[in-house]
Amino acid sequence: MTMTPPLGTPPVAPEREAVIELENVTKVYRTGSLSVAALRGVTLSINEGEYVAIIGPSGSGKSTLMHILGCLDIPTSGGYQLAGEDVSRMSETALAEVRNRRIGFVFQQFNLLPSMTAWQNVELPLSYAGVPRRERKERALEALARVGLAGRVQHRPGELSGGQQQRVAVARALVTEPDLILADEPTGNLDSVSAADVLGLMGDLYAAGRTLVLITHDVEVASAANRVVGIRDGLLTENDTRYLESVR
């Protein structure tokens, strides 16, 4: 027996919660007497299920923003709420735990451990989460199947192509079911076919309801996202068409 909603009433849209809320975040690097402001007051909100590209040239502060979004670094000032949790003033140990639980990383260099097989690489974040061995392997194999590498689980990174390695990295980012997948120039080291392949995979993840943030300097890569945020001289320019025009 099921309850049928009355006709004519639109289905209640699921409430979209903000995954990322940056509030006037600054980051100042000090080297000796010299201080460089890499971020000069960034405010950004990203909701669950969004696919956002952050685009900027080198030196724009996008790497710094990626580090702060990824909880690899903490802001000099300002607030950062990740999935409702204030992470802007956390200790290194607490940040490690947040990264493990909430964020999946995809790097330009793939960053797979060469001595481990594909599934061992994928299960690595689960081992830091304290998941039992058998469940870890199950989930790692499942994640590899999702990125189309079910037949390559026993291969080491050296035996895989660049595109396949990045797929393993995506599987590793997925396996913990994180709140956010953060991809830093994921296609930077790939040929155009493999790049399209990885971007297609990210599109699939978006379609499956994942929250994705893609950091890139490449307009074509950025256009794969459904929302583009520009960054320049440490400041954000939301849907900066002028910037997009200028680089095009």
Partner: protein
């Protein structure tokens, strides 16, 4: 991440750098094996000394002619004077004058060639009284010891030490046989039990098992000859107990000074020594050797430890990206520190185990080559393992904390 899993990660880390890990392990191995052999040599030497001391009998003082205090004037060297006589020995036996002295054994001795058939042996022939056996704390393996009657009748009988007996009569029973000493046929009536002091001892002249005991009168009258038949080579004095040793010393000293008519104790014409202290002085050489060997072993162990630290530091620098990645994926500084500490400890423990095996093999086969006894000490083996583990941990701490304190972004950024 559990300890077991960190251990697995650590072991994999060590295994993935096989040759380098092996060379590092080799450093620890040599150090640990060195420690075991050095300790074994030391213990072997000291157990040999202990059995020698036991062989001499406990609570025993030895009085020898001559003075050891040669600070003033011209004095005969130790043992060269002929100032001890049977009268001295008789006086020391008096329970009234020397209540702390239990027994006295006067000894005359000389090195003589013994002949038995075609076999000859050069050994220390000692003329003494029946008291010698208990004073020296010796027992008989077979036959009897010299008796009072032998002393009174100057009979040509003798008791052989175990080593001498086997040298002269390797196949037959020595008791009842005759040994020719300086043309005098001496009938062997007994054989002393072996003291257990090593026969391969470097000081074979003092080997307590290489001797012939004869009645003191027989020695003086019929074998040794010489000018003064009343002169003794030494007097062995046994105190009632080790607590009475000081009392016995003072009584003997006082009595002999009185008998020899000496008023100034610094001009005494005799020397009283405790045998144990004499041996202890000799063994200080052994101790120096042990300390030297142990020191070299300890230094090589420290060098091994530095090897561990070196490889771990190289490993941290080399694996900066791996560390960064692991941190990005959620490894806390504590987990990273643990991983590197375990890698260092694995190197230490593997080196330790192999070192103990190598050390035990050396202890088993070296004595055949160098002729010195080496003991296997389980304490040393366990201790060496503990040291190896401690070295791994100790020299792993710094590299591990360096790895743990790396900022994930710096670690990831490195190309």
């Amino acid at each position: 991440m559990s300890w077991l899993e960190t251990l697995r990660t650590g072991v994999n880390g060590v295994r993935s750098r096989g040759l380098r890990s092996f060379l590092t392990v080799l450093g620890i191995l040599i150090g640990i094996a060195g420690v075991i052999v050095a300790v074994g040599l030391g213990e072997g030497a000291s157990s040999q000394v202990t059995s020698e001391i036991n062989a001499l009998g406990s609570n025993v003082l030895t009085i020898t002619p001559g003075s050891s205090t040669s600070s003033s004037g011209i004095r005969g060297a130790l043992g060269s004077a002929s100032t001890l006589t049977m009268d001295d020995a008789t006086a020391l036996s008096s329970p009234v004058a020397a209540p702390d002295i239990k027994a006295v054994a006067p000894i005359t001795s000389n090195t003589e060639v013994l002949t038995a058939g075609s076999q000859t042996a050069t050994t220390s022939v000692q003329g003494t009284t029946p008291a010698w056996l208990p004073v020296r704390g010796r027992t008989l393996a077979e036959g009897r010891f010299i008796g009072k009657q032998d002393i009174n009748e100057h009979t040509a009988v003798g008791v052989l030490g175990a080593t001498t007996a086997s040298e002269l009569f390797s196949r037959s029973d020595p008791v009842g046989q005759t040994v020719d000493v300086n043309g005098v046929p001496v009938t062997i009536v007994g054989v002393l039990a072996s003291t257990g002091a090593s026969s391969s001892s470097s000081s074979s002249s003092s080997n307590p098992d290489d001797t012939l005991i004869i009645p003191i009168t027989t020695g003086a009258e019929r074998i040794f000859g010489g000018t003064s038949r009343n002169t003794l080579s030494s007097i062995a004095v046994q105190a009632k107990s080790s607590a009475d040793l000081t009392g016995a010393y003072q009584e003997a000293d006082h009595l002999l000074l009185q008998l020899h008519g000496i008023t100034n104790p610094t001009q005494a014409d005799f020397t009283i020594t405790s045998e144990a202290s004499l041996i202890a002085a000799n063994t200080s050489v052994d101790h120096t050797l042990t300390i030297l060997l142990g020191g070299i072993a300890a230094i090589s162990l420290i060098v091994g430890g530095i090897g561990v630290m070196n490889i771990m530091l190289v490993s941290v620098t080399e694996r900066i990206r791996e560390i960064g990645l692991r941190k990005a994926l959620g490894a806390t500084p504590r987990v990273i520190r643990r991983q590197f500490l375990i890698e260092a400890s694995v190197l230490g423990v593997v080196g330790g185990i192999l070192g103990v095996v190598a050390g035990i093999l050396c202890v088993a086969y070296l004595p055949g080559l160098i002729g010195d006894p080496i003991s296997t000490s389980p304490t040393a083996a366990v201790g060496a393992l503990a040291i190896a583990l401690a070295i791994g941990v100790l020299f792993g701490v710094y590299p591990a904390s360096r790895a743990a304190s790396l900022a994930p972004i710096d670690a990831l950024r490195t190309e």
